[in-house]
């Protein structure tokens, strides 16, 4: 593996409020009590909207419990639903808005791409990886993205090729690169190992 590829793996800084912003939209898709406590006990000035992707059950969430009274809380049960809610939130959002995305890489980079279609720049958006380390994998051969990949080798959901999952991450695609592993000797595929729990 080249060092260049390794370098493109995103590095997530500790999630903090950007207090130069005047409106804040937080998307979360995983539980993290310490982070919820730290962020919500000291909310930023201006409006706060929380878009929460969570399973449709009655379990209590660290995110809804600690929410300031003034915050707008919007719940979604699937990523598709969350993306719809966020699309509306971005549509009405004003300059001065900061966007915070905390969850699986698959979810946060899909939201990030949506935000970019609204002209959001990198200094207006922050990412944090929470929960599953599963990777979205882009097949460089058929250009299909296979989602929720936990193993270092995966069969492409588009073309069925055995892909080796690289550490090379594309922000534009919101996915890691996957290359056919048995290109030289067809059929010779090593056993897959769980690498991204």
């Amino acid at each position: 593996m080249s060092t260049l590829a390794t370098k493109s793996q995103p590095i997530y800084a500790e999630l903090e409020w950007d207090r130069t912003g005047t409106h804040h939209i937080l998307f979360v898709s995983a539980e993290d009590a310490a982070l919820a406590q730290r962020l919500l006990s000291n909310p930023p000035g201006g409006t706060l909207t929380l878009v929460h992707l969570r399973p449709a059950d009655d379990s209590r969430s660290v995110w809804s419990q600690n929410l300031p009274d003034t915050a707008l809380y919007l719940e979604a049960h699937t990523l598709a639903e969350a993306l719809e809610v966020l699309r509306d939130a971005f549509y009405v959002a004003q300059m001065g808005t900061r966007i915070y995305l905390a969850g699986s890489e698959d979810a946060i980079w899909q939201v990030s791409q949506l935000a970019e279609t609204f002209g959001v720049s990198r200094d207006e958006i922050r990412h944090a990886q929470l929960g599953t380390k599963a990777r979205p994998v882009f097949c460089v051969h058929c250009r299909t993205i296979t989602r929720g990949v936990h193993t270092n080798i995966v069969s492409c959901s588009g073309c069925g090729r055995s892909l080796f999952v690289r550490d090379h991450f594309s922000r534009r695609l919101g996915a890691y690169m996957g290359f056919q592993i048995d290109a030289e000797v067809p059929g010779e595929v090593p056993a897959a190992e769980v690498a991204y729990p």
Partner: protein, 319 residues
């Protein structure tokens, strides 16, 4: 020289307003000009007496017009000669050298809406940006402030580009841009561009920051004319030259006059391209640029020779 130069003929001179002239330029070799992007400027080399005199001016015509380039020049009363030469000596048919276009004020094409603001002659880069946005079919508006009705140059061209989306603020009628209301409540993905006098640019940036606008969406261009000052001595360590910068030349011009190649782009203290390393300074560095940070200034290790100088003593540069 930093960028390839082109020889052009002054084809047409138009007086647009008191103290504002427009120059139309065509290549003397008959070739087409390259296409430039909205907000670009070129550097004109003006044949003033025996010394090099290079002034930056924004290109204001249609970026896709490959036969004619246009610039507009305001006569600076305290000018050391460049704008005065263009107003008093330049004639149609004269030939001068110009640099290739450089853009330090480019549009963000991912923006969903664009607010363009011009103060006075700052309309020149704004006009070429407006043309580019109109061609792209982008959503934009122009806010144009000037001294008195007769100073509103290019208003017809602007109006034709964006009918109903040009807002005028005439100082003699006590009209003024309120930046906090202009920038408030704008949709996500809006970009703001301003070219105008320093005070106006600063007021708009402060208003934007107070409303939470991130830096990436606040764009400004402000060229400083090099100011003269006391003469001072210079030593260049690499080329071994020693000379005196006279009061009416900038440090950069004096270096060029010695035949030493020094980098530059904007010649107006904005781009950072001309930065030189100060080896020693036995006097006070007078920084006029918009580029160096407070810490960099305090370190005394850097100078932007296009606009900054030394007060008294000798300046040693690693060049």
């Amino acid at each position: 020289m930093s960028s390839a130069s082109l020889n052009v003929e002054i084809r047409r001179i138009r007086d647009l307003a008191p103290g504002i002239r427009e120059f139309s330029l065509s290549r003397t070799d008959g070739d087409d000009f390259p296409i430039y992007s909205g907000g670009s400027h070129i550097v004109l080399s003006l044949p003033l007496s025996d010394r090099p005199h290079r002034n930056p001016y924004s290109l204001l015509g249609d970026p896709t017009d490959r036969k004619t380039w246009r610039v507009a020049v305001r006569k600076q009363e305290d000018s050391r000669g460049g704008s005065r030469w263009l107003h008093e000596q330049a004639r149609e048919g004269m030939r001068i050298d110009i640099s290739a276009p450089v853009n330090l004020f480019s549009l963000n094409r991912l923006g969903r809406r664009h607010i363009l603001v011009a103060g006075g002659i700052g309309i020149t880069p704004i006009l070429s940006q407006a043309r580019e946005l109109a061609r792209l079919g982008a959503d934009f508006e122009v806010h144009y402030a000037y001294r008195a009705p007769e100073y509103g140059v290019f208003v017809d061209e602007l109006e034709a580009l964006a009918p109903g989306r040009i807002h005028h603020y005439v100082q003699s009628r006590r009209e003024q841009i309120e930046f906090s209301s202009l920038l408030a409540g704008r949709p996500l993905g809006t970009h703001f561009y301003i070219c105008g006098p320093g005070g106006m640019v600063a007021a708009s940036m402060n208003a934007g920051k107070a409303l939470g606008w991130p830096e990436s969406h606040l764009h400004s261009e402000q060229f400083l004319a090099p100011t003269g000052g006391e003469p001072f001595d210079v030593q260049l360590t690499l080329s071994g030259k020693a000379f005196t910068v006279p009061s009416d030349l900038s440090l950069l011009e004096a270096i060029e006059q010695q035949g030493v190649d020094a980098p530059y782009l904007c010649r107006g203290g904005a781009c950072g391209q001309c930065e030189l390393e100060v080896v020693d300074a036995s006097g006070e560095l007078i920084h006029h640029d918009l580029y160096l940070s407070a810490e960099e200034r305090a370190s005394g290790k850097k100078i932007m020779p296009c606009v900054s100088r030394l007060k008294g003593g000798c300046l040693t540069l690693n060049l």
